[in-house]
Amino acid sequence: MKVDLTVNGKDITADVEDRMLLVHFLRDVADLTATNVGCDTTSCGACTVLLDGESVKSCTVLAAQASGHDITTIEGLATNGEMHPVQRAFHQEHGLQCGFCTPGMVMAIASLLKENPHPTEEQVRSGLEGNLCRCTGYHNIVRAALAAAEVSS
């Protein structure tokens, strides 16, 4: 079937299997490989992107469902070559090590801060209960989220 998505501001039309998952559309059709697949039970959040500005797990959305909608991946987060405050904060605070969970983590936090610009540490931690990281122990990810919130205010 034909699907028509706007990804990082660019329209992409493609003929795909009805069962194609949004995450594979992004990786294999749109050639945006930053968004990763980390599990098969909607548990890990590595595949998190923004759909119409809100965080979703792209492994549990069909490309067909996303047809006609706006998708933002981490590749589209920076504007005019300037990193988004969350990206910058991750760099400053050492919020990533191997980087595999990072795109999903960054998009989840970007969405969190949009909805709650001044979260407490507890709110950040519970907001990230659907995003797994194995390297950082989350300490600096939380610091990055709070630092990004600080900067944006």
Partner: protein, 769 residues
Amino acid sequence: MSILGTRVIRTEDPRLLTAGGVYVDDLRTPELDGAARLTFVRSPVAHARITGIDTSEAMSEPGVIAVLTVRDMDDLAPPPPDDGAGGGEGGPLPLGGPWSEPLLAVDTVRFVGEPVALVITDGRYQGEDAADLVSVDYEPLPAVVGPAAAVTDEALLFPAAGTNVAVTNPVSTDDTPFGACEVVVEQDIVNQRLACLPMEGRATAATFEGGKLTVWHSSQNAQLCRLILCGALGMTPDQIRVVVPDVGGGFGAKVGIDRDALVVAWAARKTGRALRWTETRSENLVGMTQGRAQLHHVKIGGNRDGKILAYRIEIIQDTGAYPRTGGFLPGLTCLMAPGVYDIPEVQAGFRVVVTNATPIHAYRGAGRPEAAAAIERAVDLFAAEIGMDPAEVRRRNFVAPDKFPFQTKTGALYDSGQYAEALDKVLAAAGYEELRKEQERRRASGDVRQLGIGVSTYVEITAADAAAGETAKLEVSDDGTATVYTGSSPHGQGHETAWAMLVQDELGIPMDKVTVIHGDTDLVPIGVGTHASRSLQLGGSAVQKAAIEVKDEARRQAADILEAAEADVVLDTVTGLWQVRGDPDTSLNWAQVAGHASGGSLIADVSFAADMPTFPFGAHVSVVEVDTETGKVTLLRHVTVDDAGPVLNPVLAEGQRHGGIAQGAAQALLEEVLYDADGNPLTSTLADYAAITAAELPSYELVESETPTTLNPLGVKGIGEAGTIGSTPAIQNAVVDAVAHLGVRHIDMPTTPQRVWTAINEARKASNQ
């Protein structure tokens, strides 16, 4: 002022944060254009004879290129026999003979997830469809579930071996030393099986073109992959190139190249097709090697004044369906059994048993977390028995600071340590006295939410393979840039930043002019890789050594250009300029100096090996709250000292400590691989395996401590696994401590609400009798 020891954010990050890392499944290299997808058919049963495989339906599916089984492996030699000696970390399938592990199952499957066949399809999606259509007939055999059952030898995995016990290192059963003790405590302890769970699972791509095999693999050691591939496929190193791109976590499970990935490489050669394989998480949770899985019986004896006189640990190591690492892991556990304590009599031994479960291999700490967990639990049990504060008991038994280098009863030589100081620092930072007072208040008022305070003091062995060393080649070019070719294999540790810091420090070439290359056997043909917390002490030392050699040669070149004596030529490492001492008009930059050298660049190609491993150490205090009505545990605070010598870059070191603490906490509180009575995995998805999240953890409190070693020029030890080793016992001890006043003496890990509640109930029942 040196850049070493300062906080430097990572050079790796801008790329990772904007374009994303390039992991194996992301590769868009032209060689993999049009690559087909490989999907495994795996055993759904734990132990069975294969009585038939029908591939015809799968073959007739659209998009299916090939369906292969062991019958197609006629181009491989059978596995070599072996005299029974165990393999080392990262070694190829080591125990041959009756314990042989084939690449694809031959006539028997021994764990759920064992690869039996594979399908090759045009597309990713067709792979799962086709794999579902491969029909395999299984005749079930009795499943051996868990090491306690394995040890009875009632059902055997390898009839030709005649037993399930693959390796034995007998423990002394001499009870005389315990007879001399006023107090003796014994305890069975479970160090449970864990999934390593890197966020990127296993992934491999391979091409075979013009007699050359190229393998892209998510690994911790590119060069070791090549060695293993040579052995498995009967090829020579010049016929194989291994490329390790970005790696999404390893933790020991990605040391070298494993069985499934070897099959991918073989299949690429067999079919002549470029192939890609990326496992799903469900496959990963049964197919990737797992960690820990030891049963302990500990016996600790001492006197009421707090002095420990004797300690015995008997280990049964569950190694899963194939004994890939022989006695390696429990061997390390025995080596580190006494921990930080000076105990006159130490008895340690193990048996390795096979079970119908996923094979076991290294997982962050690899044998040492098990040692620490056992001795720290034993010390707390001893402390409880004699009614002494657990921190005080520890203090009375530390190896004294003036005893280093200290030869332990188990054969380790601890290089340096300040155990009492570490304990004092962490207790002060935690506010130990205040915590005990708060605990007393809650106990007195019968608060439903009780406070538990757990202490651990630990030592661990890093660069256990110090003699193997690490390589570094440094090239300074005539454009003034530097390239480091390192044998280390970072997968999150930040070596690109750290090695660039070392170059800047030694040569004054700014970090943004330093490129670090790793993981490609064409560019770095010799190297050992990143595991065993070895890379800074060995790889970093190698980089520094190469930089010094480059500097020495550069001085010769500069002296030549400046027509001065070598002794009069100096390098300003702040500006990166060479000049005649006291004559700034004679400045030369690196580009000029390198350009003057033959070949137009300065090159040093070195390796650095150390005589011995190093022994970082530390102390953790963990504070938990236990809801005594439900058994639920909340981790409130975690305070640590992790001393691995001078800190090159606090940003990186802290990150390693944080990550280690989280994985250690996960073992103490939540994670466990479970099987049912038939050997079927019960935790094979992330919906069931309780991986720890940010919501279960606090921010950590890290205390600084730097006790150097003399074993390498940087004076450093390894920090990568220390946090994990120290945190698990502190948290487990904290949970027990929270309910000790109710009569609980021990709770096995993970301390789930059900386990804690059961322990409380049983203690209450016992005290009512």
